[in-house]
Amino acid sequence: VSLPARVVTLVLAFLAVAAVAVFVVVHYFLGGPPTVDYTSDVTADTGATVHVVMQEDPQNTVSTHPDWVSYFIQNPKTHAWIHTTLFKVPAGSKIDMTIYGYDGCTPLRNQVFGGVSGTIGGVENVNGKPVKVINSWSGCNVAHTFSIPTLNLNVPMASPGLTANLCGTSPCTSGPHETVTFSFMSPRTTGDYFWQCRVPCGGGFVDGFGGPMQTIGFMTGNMEVVS
């Protein structure tokens, strides 16, 4: 093989490897769902109230995994539903959460997460009614949970039930659903606070949290706390 051919081959091989590396960095590390910003017009560490609105659906808008259960977060300015699980809140603020539960039910793997913890007053409101515990083994009444381990926050999400004709197109705007509200204080320490669902709600993942349960943008995400 001639020297020019060798040089060309070497250069092409180098470019191919470099292209793969750039794709991996851009697609997997720099890509991903957007962060919904709830910090506008709110000063951190003043105890001001921030309203975060989310919904959990039986499907999503991503073509690669359209049947994965998923959370959506509402943009506070445009009120558009964003397919993401990343949101940003100011530190030291009262976070009022509203989560619309459009998804069906799955029993909790560990019933201890049927108890509400970490919220102001130790309660959540399901359709306006205060609730401290939901027994997901006594009936088909829990779809997901919203849990931030480092804040010891855990809130079971009520489900419209087994026989409900669930919303079939995301983001859901109509169809049977439960409205869950609760409040908690965002920490004064800034940083990313990992949150997850504790129901094995991705069908077929009972022996482990795979698929949507471990994927940011579906059933797990980060609450970014900023000053």
Binding site: T106, V112, C140, P149, G204, G208, F209
Partner: protein, 315 residues
């Protein structure tokens, strides 16, 4: 040529220097100093500390290993440096040294010393591990432990699940909580299990590390000797968010623990009521109440459970 070079340096008829003695005399003070520093100065700060008897026992083991290892390392470094300086290649010296044949004294000394060291360490380690009144290894001993501490232990069940540990206290009504609180001075029996995949319960400052496997009760013992915070981490790669599986427990006085336990038992009574009865292991696919409801609605798996028998299905 080497011999002639040496003879040139020392003069004919003179014996060569005793290199072994030289190396020994350099090595001895270095080894003694290193051992004293390691054992008495750095030793008390070695991981995992002295928060529990098992942690202190592990720290002692590491101190002993360090004291044994330091002289060996010092000897290797000193002998290497001595060789480089004294036996370095010199201009015109291109011959091999004289052949050395068997030396009974050296061989006997070598075999005897290593045999004594190995047998001593085997006996010492077994005594440390198994003798009642000591601390055990701080590791899981399986469902039927061969070593148990004296006295009645406080039972704490560690339930691992992606990606959080929860703790159940069967002697206080079986309440389950995300907070690990332990009393000082009382033997603690950790019953470690998992609800999903393989995890590992690692309470660093307590010197406890026990595998958490689904369907298995892995028992580990310790006794806390100091109050303070305990870092708990999962030490087995258990999924994408394995790194987020940690929390902080605390060791408190007996009175504080009793107060906390009774208060928590009362606070969590409503949740405790919906938990399955306390058991050493749990099968999360068997949910009697919901299985009946699901079967009635016609959506249960072929095994009659909510979760079909072909689970898990990974993508």
């Amino acid at each position: 040529m080497a011999a002639s070079v040496a003879e040139d340096a020392q003069g004919p008829g003179q014996a060569g220097p005793n290199h072994g003695l030289r190396i020994f005399l350099i090595w001895l003070p270095v080894a003694v100093a290193a051992d004293l520093l390691l054992y008495f100065v750095y030793g008390p700060h070695m991981p995992p500390g002295q928060m529990s008897n098992s942690a202190a026992s592990q720290q002692f083991d590491i101190r002993v290993m360090s004291v044994l290892a330091a002289p060996v390392m010092a000897f290797v470094l000193i002998a290497g440096a001595y060789s480089l300086i004294v036996w370095r290649h010199r201009e015109g010296d291109d011959e091999d040294g004289p052949a050395i044949f068997g030396n009974v004294r050296i061989q006997t000394t070598w075999i005897t010393v290593t045999a004594v060291i190995v047998l001593f360490l085997a006996g010492f380690g077994t005594y440390e591990l198994a003798w009642p009144g000591f601390a055990g290894a701080g590791a899981g001993e399986g469902p039927a432990p061969i070593w148990k501490p004296d006295g009645k232990p406080l039972e704490v069940q560690v339930i691992a699940q992606q990606w959080r540990f929860t703790y159940r206290y069967p002697q206080f009504g079986g309440f389950e909580t995300t907070a690990l609180v332990l009393p000082i001075g009382q033997p603690i029996q950790f019953n470690v299990t998992s609800l999903d995949v393989i995890h590992s319960f690692w309470a660093y400052q307590l010197g406890v590390k026990a595998d958490a496997n689904p369907g298995v009760n892995n028992v580990a013992y310790t006794t806390a000797q100091q109050t303070g915070s305990v870092t708990v981490r999962c030490a087995e790669l258990c999924g994408l968010w394995h790194g987020a599986m940690y929390d902080y427990g605390k060791v408190v006085s007996v009175a504080s623990f009793q107060s906390w336990a009774h208060q928590t038992e009362t606070q969590l009574a409503a949740v405790t009521k919906i938990l399955p009865p306390y058991a050493t292991t749990y099968d999360p696919t068997v949910i009697p109440q919901i299985n009946k409801a699901m079967a009635k609605a016609g959506i249960a798996g072929a095994n009659g459970y909510y979760y079909p028998p072909n689970d898990p299905v990974q993508p």
